[in-house]
């Protein structure tokens, strides 16, 4: 297929179809509404369903229902909408069902603003729902990577029977870039007999499935959460993704940055390199699991004096960077929010002043 020019939101919609997901439930919110606008045209062409819920609360439970019935399902929303879905996300995680959530993040807290932000890092990686629930979170830095991550999200959600999120800042949804789509994947989860409640007739297993997150017996709840913990531990060992940039150089400082913010940092690093200043970057592609080892290893470069987490928020990922570096080098944050995005020049000034 030739390259087409697509807005991130449109590409995310097409990627879900290519991944064999024919069930899309959503509620419009800026800056992700184009996913629904795209899929309202596209889903009928492929025999799929787009249903607009009456609210994000309803949408979250529509996903739970479809997932419980063994269907590939996804939704897209933006920050306040994800907050409304967080109850359902916790139920889905508790009941061990797969579902894919895309958050095209806008500024917060509250209604905030409609411009790009990375202010939902904490929510996505640490506070997505009540109870001992977590989800795998991937953060694309380009429209092409958003396509790849959305396509990867479905098999990952099914492998772990757990919600998976693709977390893009508003720019990922709104900017246009050339994209290519890989071929269609299989349209049905291969392991759905393990959880789905779609009748015993077509099933190999004789085990009765019940989709629920209620475990009144403390031993059973403890047991369920031990199963969840084992999955999250496996994610930590098997699913970490990151990109290392300029780490072969004798760098004086290390930048950690994700999403489109990392592309501004890359420009700043290239400009500094041309000026004779070597700076490296670790770009987490998974935010949970966080690439702790990659950051720790990169921080041990003998020439490195300082680590800076550059974010479109008031300092969230910096806590994970700090936990990874474990105090052996100074770690600091730089960032802006509300749609203000640090420029390459600002980043250069900050980096230069801190590595000095």
């Amino acid at each position: 297929m030739p390259k087409v020019l697509m807005k991130g939101n449109e590409a995310i919609g097409e990627a879900a179809i290519r991944a064999g997901c024919l069930n899309y439930f959503a509620y419009p919110i800026t800056p992700q509404s184009e996913v629904a606008e795209y899929l309202v045209r596209r889903m009928p062409e492929v025999g799929g369903v787009f249903l607009q819920g009456e609210s994000e609360v309803a949408v979250g439970y529509m996903l739970f229902g479809a997932a419980g019935a063994g269907a590939r399902v996804f939704t897209t929303s933006s920050s306040p909408g994800i907050s409304l879905m967080s109850e359902a996300i916790s139920y889905i995680a508790g009941a061990q069902c797969p579902a894919v959530f895309v958050n095209i993040v806008r500024g917060g807290p509250g209604l905030g603003g409609i411009l790009p932000s990375q202010g939902d890092y904490f929510q996505a990686t640490k506070g997505i729902g009540h109870g001992d629930c977590r989800m795998l979170v991937m953060a694309p830095a380009s429209v092409q990577e958003a396509v790849e991550m959305v396509m990867k999200a479905f098999p990952l959600a099914e492998k772990y029977r757990n919600p998976v999120m693709v977390l893009g800042d508003g720019l990922i949804g709104q900017m246009m870039e050339p994209v290519e789509f890989p071929d269609h994947l299989k349209s049905e989860p291969t392991n759905k007999d393990a959880w789905s409640t779609n009748g015993m007739d077509h099933r190999n297993s004789k085990k009765r499935n019940i989709v629920k997150s209620l475990f009144l017996d403390p031993a059973l709840l403890n047991d369920n959460n031990l199963q969840l913990k084992a999955k999250y531990d496996q994610m930590r060992s098997d699913e970490v993704m990151f990109e290392a940039y300029n780490t072969d150089s004798e760098y004086k400082g290390l930048v950690v940055s994700f999403g489109t913010m990392s592309r501004v940092c890359r420009t700043a690093i290239d400009l500094m390199k041309a000026d004779g200043i070597e700076i490296a970057m670790i770009r987490p592609k998974t935010l949970f699991p966080f690439p702790e080892k990659a950051v720790a290893d990169a921080s041990k470069k003998p020439t490195c004096t300082h680590i800076i987490s550059v974010e479109m928020n008031m300092g969230q990922m910096v806590e994970d960077v700090d936990l990874s570096v474990k105090g052996h080098l100074p770690v600091s944050w730089y960032g802006k929010c509300g749609g203000e995005i640090p420029t390459p020049e600002e980043i250069i000034d900050v980096v230069k002043s801190r590595i000095a």
Partner: protein, 232 residues
């Protein structure tokens, strides 16, 4: 050959076809020819990458940009400033209207029907064949009908804006030109002009192209790219 347009020019097209980039560059081009240019941002549907983002550059050149009131600049609200009707009443020089995408974006034009009544108006539909929904002639003509239906206006010409951003080649421009000529022919409309970046123009075989070409200096860039200086 470069395009020359004056009077009321309304730029419509599919979502993401490049209306705003075309409008900004057309405004700067006509301004450089000595025409008084006013550009109105009528994009009520798109939250990012709007004319308002290039406001400072345009105003620095001396081009008046008509926008919603400053306090609503970052709102995703359908605000139509009354200054637009004023612009249409007195369209001296070039009065350029950059409209939002698809039929949804063009709906705003129906609200201006009274101000447009009896006026000579050019309504140009921007086509990028590398975009979904307008990659076939049938798709382009469907888009035309949908826009005309909601805008209560007839499209009077096609603008060819074939590109895949930074990855565009001269081959894309030539193939896009052929495609847009067919769209125009099928729709019994003139192909008013096509576009190419200033960099591609230096390498393009211009003899193969029988219509004006607007050179594009990209203004609606991401925070890690630099806009090309506008004006000459």
């Amino acid at each position: 050959m470069e395009p020359e347009l004056t009077g009321i020019v309304i730029v419509v097209g599919a979502y993401g076809s490049g209306k705003t980039e075309v409008s900004i560059n057309l405004a700067a081009h006509m301004h450089s020819l000595g025409t008084a240019v006013r550009l109105a941002d009528l994009d009520l549907v798109n939250p990012y990458f709007r004319t308002r983002d290039a406001r400072n550059t345009l105003e620095h050149l001396g081009i008046e940009v008509i926008l919603p009131p400053a306090s609503y600049m970052y709102a995703d609200l359908p605000i139509l400033t009354p200054k637009v009707s004023g612009l249409l009443r007195n369209p001296a020089g070039l009065a350029l209207l950059d409209v939002g995408g698809d039929d949804v974006g063009a709906t705003v034009l129906a609200a201006l029907a009274d101000s447009l009544k009896g006026k000579q108006v050019e309504v140009l539909m921007v086509v990028n064949p590398n975009r979904p929904h307008t990659d076939t002639i049938k798709g382009c003509l469907k888009m035309r009908n949908e826009i005309e239906d909601k805008a209560k206006l007839s499209i009077t010409g096609i603008v060819g804006n074939a590109n895949v951003m930074a990855e565009t080649t001269t081959k894309d421009i030539l193939e896009g030109y052929d495609f847009c000529r067919k769209v125009a022919g099928n729709g019994k409309l003139p192909l008013v002009f096509i576009t190419a970046t200033t960099e591609l123009l230096t390498r393009l075989d211009k003899k193969a192209i029988q219509c004006p070409i607007l050179s594009i200096r990209r203004q609606l860039t991401t925070p890690w790219e630099e806009a090309e200086p506008l004006g000459r």
